[in-house]
């Protein structure tokens, strides 16, 4: 029976959705940045696989079905950009200049540090897009031979750091302009940071979500010219 249980694609599907729902329930209760459904869901999934010594391949049978949806999810990010088109048009120059600066700083500083620490290629390529939103980061990492799993993990770490620290960073670094605060938050910590940016103010929230799309696109373009 255990054999049937583990070899069914329903196992991976049920485990992923179950742990996600658990993560969402905890988020609703705790209401803390660290209580993020992705972090909790992945942590519980990993814990179940590790504790019961279930091979990843068994989980992947069902989980792959969810994985296939990453393409459509990325396509739908277009809606977010489209909905912000008026704000984007109005503040086009500062948004573009800021996001180019942010994306370049992120990619070049990560590549330089990876080289300095002697990090291997598959990890360097995975870390390179870590400031981008997960679907874009995974695409960039994979097209450069990076491990998607490491990329997604680093994206989550960057997101949590930004989400927790954005108000402090603004104060320490003397970023007072609300537009600059929002763009900076979105540029370094994508969707997770945007949740915090919304708490900081309406302008910050809108600008942060604009930065997700614009920085993502710019990072894709820059990464075309990068070899890891």
């Amino acid at each position: 029976m255990i054999e049937a249980f583990l070899s069914s694609p329903m196992f991976g599907l049920a485990l992923s959705i179950g742990t996600y729902l658990l993560g969402k329930a905890i988020q609703n209760k705790v209401k803390h940045t660290l209580a993020n459904p992705l972090v909790i869901g992945a942590a519980f999934t990993i814990a179940v696989l590790a504790v019961f010594k279930i091979p990843y391949e068994n989980y992947a049978k069902g989980a792959d079905v969810i994985n296939w949806m990453l393409g459509p999810v990325t396509a739908l990010l277009a809606l977010g950009i489209y909905n912000q088109r008026k704000t984007l048009k109005e503040y086009f120059i500062p948004v573009l200049v800021g996001c180019v600066a942010g994306a370049c700083t992120s990619i070049f500083s990560i590549l330089a540090l990876c080289k300095a620490f002697g990090v291997d290629k598959a990890v360097t390529a995975a870390m390179m897009p870590k400031s981008c939103t997960t679907p874009i980061a995974v695409s960039i990492a994979e097209s450069h031979g990076g491990l998607a799993a490491i990329a997604a993990t680093c994206v989550a770490v960057a997101g949590i750091t930004g989400a927790l620290c954005a108000p402090m960073f603004s104060k320490w670094f003397g970023i007072k302009d609300p537009m600059a605060q929002g763009l900076a938050t979105g540029a370094c910590s994508h969707a997770l940071g945007t949740a915090t940016a919304r708490e900081m103010g309406e302008v910050q929230g809108a600008m942060s979500s604009i930065a997700i799309g614009v920085c993502g696109m710019i990072s894709v373009v820059i990464s075309l010219f990068m070899t890891v």
């Binding site: 869901g41 999934t45 990010l77 500062p94 800021g98 679907p135 799993a149 490491i150 302009d177 370094c188």
Partner: protein, 123 residues
């Protein structure tokens, strides 16, 4: 559009993007191409956001779910992860504030320069 039509449209866009990605001479991820195609379709009003409402609300509203398999996949690479553990942590801790700092100041500087220029035009 019915939910099935919405799904069919999005899958068709993704399929087309994979074909485009395969023939491009450089590596542009298919998912990013599909995002650009959908954005163009929205901008030329071939598709209205309301027509994709059910599917987009579901997928974007539960976006974290779609990344649980990818992130959980890290269990396969624990050796790689532990071998580079401190480097990864240090890089994450250093670069996130750096990107915030640079982006924030560049935007503030740009806004200041633009105001200055505007002021001069008024003089």
């Amino acid at each position: 559009m019915s939910v099935l039509k919405q799904l069919c449209l999005i899958f068709a866009i993704c399929l087309g993007s994979e074909c485009i990605s395969a023939v491009l001479p450089f590596t542009l991820p298919a998912s990013v191409i599909s995002m650009v195609i959908l954005l163009l379709l929205l901008l030329v009003k071939a598709v209205k956001p309301a027509q994709l409402k059910e599917v987009s609300d579901f997928m974007l509203g539960n976006m974290a779910l779609f990344f649980i398999p990818v992130v959980s996949g890290v269990i396969r690479y624990k050796d790689v992860l532990f071998a580079n553990f401190w480097a990864i942590i240090l890089i994450c801790v250093l670069t996130t504030p750096l990107v915030f700092f640079v982006t924030g100041h560049v935007v503030q500087l740009t806004v200041r320069l633009m105001k200055k220029k505007e002021g001069k035009q008024h003089d």
